[in-house]
Symmetry: D2
Subunit: 330 residues, 4 copies
């Protein structure tokens, strides 16, 4: 039984709290949030206690800290948890600054802590199966990955301001999946972008429609396209082409019902957002983290290093978009 | 080069004339029709000559007669063509009376003529492939065939009066496919029906919505459902379940284009009627007939016997519907 | 909070216990089973108490009894629970004897108890949506329902002996769905069957491959086909054709991953059996029962009457198969 | 009736000759080829005459010249045909040199000739429908086009040497489709490439795996990916995302037959190459050219200008790949 302290009672904290509460190997012990009312409400729902971040770090009856606080707190909370001997599961990103991530990983390394980063899509049953079958050799050597990822609705322009921009805030998930699927490091990044959905996003210096091409040293290519808005739901597709075939994973409709009439055949809309689409992924992610804690695995998937590499690629994409030039990644 | 005389310049005569005219191994020599203007128009389109049915039968430069006249003339025209040494391709049915079919087949047998019946669906590339893969053993022993067949629009009640009823006029195609797919003779037929689409059809003593179950001596089952009207187009599906798996063939949409928006994912309507849906089937049917003529094959698929058996089953279905009792077929 | 006593700790008792334990409005209070070890194991898993059936019936801290015992006990346990003022959710069938069902429903009626029968498929999100859209008028007047239902593996012939036969044991689910979808009572039943999967099933006087056609007084038709074995998984499909269109619900694959290579495009197998396929259905079923209990709804869906009608139709199908004649249903 | 002189009796010349021969508004009058035997064989098949290129240009009974000769001859043959008052349908590309294309278009402009370039995919019924529905506004303002295009088998490295490279030889079709779908000019091109399929292609200075991102002045993006080899057939897919929805067109399988067994659900391979996949497109292309000739339309789709723009973009992609830098297009 792994006893969790959850930091953050916002949208993602709620997701993780629910997942922890329904996992027979996990116990939701404490919840902390800067807004006490939010922490209280969530704690009451699952029979957990409310306390401060500091107390979670020091609590003897906490084995693992789940960090779902705002991005700006991630690095220091990872370090504090590591220094207090806790295992850590932290939402992406560790930090918007690569140097901060590197400093944090050094602390984690020194303490030999288990740290896992919340790239939840690796745990989607469909994408996990796709990756597993690549690794089994079903399509031979990977040549090209294509990822299409669109959110149903754009965030307010206000949000965008502090988000780090579309490449660091949204595409970083896809960049991680590209690394996961292709299995090699990308060394060059080309990006294009435009504010076609909401001019206000453009006025904040960000874009809402973006594409990235990346290439590895051996020549493998990943192509990612993003939009902040898809009228048809949360578009999450990927395919990987290799020497012996191609593996693809498509969207999931709300139900399997189809209406056939003079207008054609109409399937249901696809699942609308991440709570539905990735509900099972969050549960599997937690299982994977618990297994890492139980076995003392200090290099889970996705690891702190995966978090670092994804951030470097997101930075490179941002720079490429801003400068109009490809950017090399060390 | 097989030289054809076509009898009938109506809807189906036009289909066959076009198919013959574009087949490099066939020549459309003559067309006959009770309405000379129809024959003239069709002949002019393809550079054929108009003549009488009698002259087609006797013409030395005719190798094969394609019979697309009204059902009432089929039997005597088959016999005449057979007696004149022609190969014969005849639209279904040979006759609405089993005894007439039997008499006709005796003539064909005596003259050792090649006779093929126009169950065009056997030549649809999809259904032909499905049958071929059953015969190759892909699904092991056949256990059950399911055929769903719906026309886009009901015929006028006036037409129904002389059609022989839905089982003989429409379902006979599906009954033939059931025999083709299952590969055994059915010995009992259960039918249900109702006039749900058009009351006027019911008033003519026919139904427009019907289902049939048939069983072979070894226990294999076929289930067929029909409607005279499907708002979504010409519904033509079948599947066969066996000991090792199931083979299915679905409908064909007008294009592969799909629209994805807040209402869902909308595919095009399916192909609307037999000219589109079975265009390739008619071309393949002709090739098969030509091959039979060239090789002197007197037992093509579908043969006169296939026509006879389908008619017996359609009669049995009609009787079962009318009496509310299952009917045995010899 | 509805407090449950669960009778039966076998396969279906485990399903319901898990569902009750994870429902925030339900409490799994007691479990009873003729085999104490089974009850103990299940109770330990969810923190429930083990007791006798009699004690469950009398317990003041039990609001509802969930009956998952062998079929032979259902009727008396429903009556006992009803006489003790409990709400009842009972697995299908109430009894293999219509007269016993009728006697049981009279007790339920007299006591004004809430009784719901476990036709879980009504609660599958796909089929529930399909039915809901029929009722909203999306396809106009219903004309024909087609249900294809195949189990992945046949039961041992030993099981078949006491099962009541395929129509009462397996097809009864589909018969209930046909009533649910069509929305009218069927008055005549035609059945065919054969033991094609396992001869031993035939030797027990049952069949493993079956089809049924049923018709309502207004002419609407339902066609159901069953097999006790499908190599490709748990085949659960249905479609309803109406005056304005057709609604269909297809199978669900294990994942959305597809492999494309020289052999074609290969999708995953479909979900293999009812625990996966209907996991959500069981949860929704429980919610629906709880809502009925909370609101005092004595006519939930599916009601005791629904259980009675399905049994009558299953009996009629059995008789039709055995006699080779259609059977009328009052 | 438009009388055609066909130049080139190779693979593409055969396609066009067949299409012309079966079009009721076209007459295949003459065929010319540097290898007289090839011309003779093709001419015999369709009852055409063999003559020289010069004679086709001057023939009074030729209305239109269809140029299917090697790329190096296209420009001069277009000019000769134009100077002789013929309408011209020319396979892509007009020339590998933009300056030569421009010079050729000046001649065509001066003579007011009808010139159409053979980007056959614009006439594929699926892609044509997709484009037509974009223009009707079904998806609102276009934001991003995604084109995936893979050939079944790589050409010999020998061929690659004189092909102009993958961007000019293969991707030029996709570049034209991107312009067609997006409806604006692209002003910047990013390309990546690698020889992952066949090292020998890399040794010839070309690549066999490539991706391109392009952007218009208004910010719209097109992403194209190519491979010279797909084990699963001729992969031809595209989708366009817009403010109100997304339109997609998928691959076409050989038949609709699907096999369901313990391994999953297996659909047929997709159509293997351009003769099958684009057979209808070639027929529609010819109809469109004939309509342009009949109406004197000097700006058909795709026009000489479309050929010029596609070549500029293919050149830019080649340069981007070779230099590792984005390339601007005037």
């Amino acid at each position: 039984m792994i006893r969790f302290g959850v930091i953050g009672a916002g949208r993602i904290g709620k997701v993780h709290s629910k997942t922890i509460a329904s996992n027979p190997k996990a116990k939701l012990a404490y919840i902390a949030d800067a807004m006490p009312a939010a922490a209280e409400a969530l704690a009451a729902q699952y029979g957990a206690k409310v306390t401060s971040v500091e107390d979670i770090m020091k609590a003897k009856d906490v084995d693992a800290v789940l960090i779902g606080s705002p991005t700006g707190f991630h690095a220091e909370q990872i370090q504090a948890a590591s220094n207090n001997g806790k295992a850590i599961m932290c939402e992406k990103p560790v930090s918007l600054a690569v140097s901060t991530i590197e400093a944090t990983l050094r602390v984690v390394e020194k303490n030999k802590s288990t740290l896992m980063i919340g790239f939840n899509r690796r745990f989607d049953p469909n994408f996990a199966e796709l990756e597993s079958r690549i690794r089994k050799g079903e399509i031979g050597a990977v040549e090209m990955a294509t990822i299409i990822s669109r959110d149903p609705n754009p965030p307010p322009a206000e949000y965008v301001k502090s988000s780090g921009g579309i490449f660091r805030d949204m595409m970083i998930h896809d960049v991680d999946m590209a690394r996961f699927l292709v299995g090699e490091e990308f060394i060059v990044v080309h990006a294009l972008g435009a504010a076609l959905v909401d001019k206000a996003i453009g006025e904040e210096g960000d874009c809402d429609t973006a594409s990235v091409m990346m290439q590895t040293a051996s020549g493998k290519i990943a192509v990612i396209t993003n939009s902040r808005r898809a009228t048809y739901g949360y578009d999450q597709r990927m395919e990987v082409h290799g020497a012996k075939g191609m593996l693809s994973a498509r969207n999931i409709h709300n139900t399997t019902v189809e209406l056939h009439n003079a207008e054609g055949t109409k399937a249901d809309p696809i699942q609308n957002f991440f709570l539905e689409r990735y509900g099972q992924a969050y549960a599997n992610e937690l299982n994977s983290f618990i297994a890492a804690v139980e076995t003392g695995n200090r290099n889970p998937s996705p690891s702190g290093f995966d978090g670092l590499q994804a951030q470097k690629l997101a930075d490179a994409a941002t720079e490429s978009w801003q400068t109009g030039k490809p950017v090399k990644v060390a």
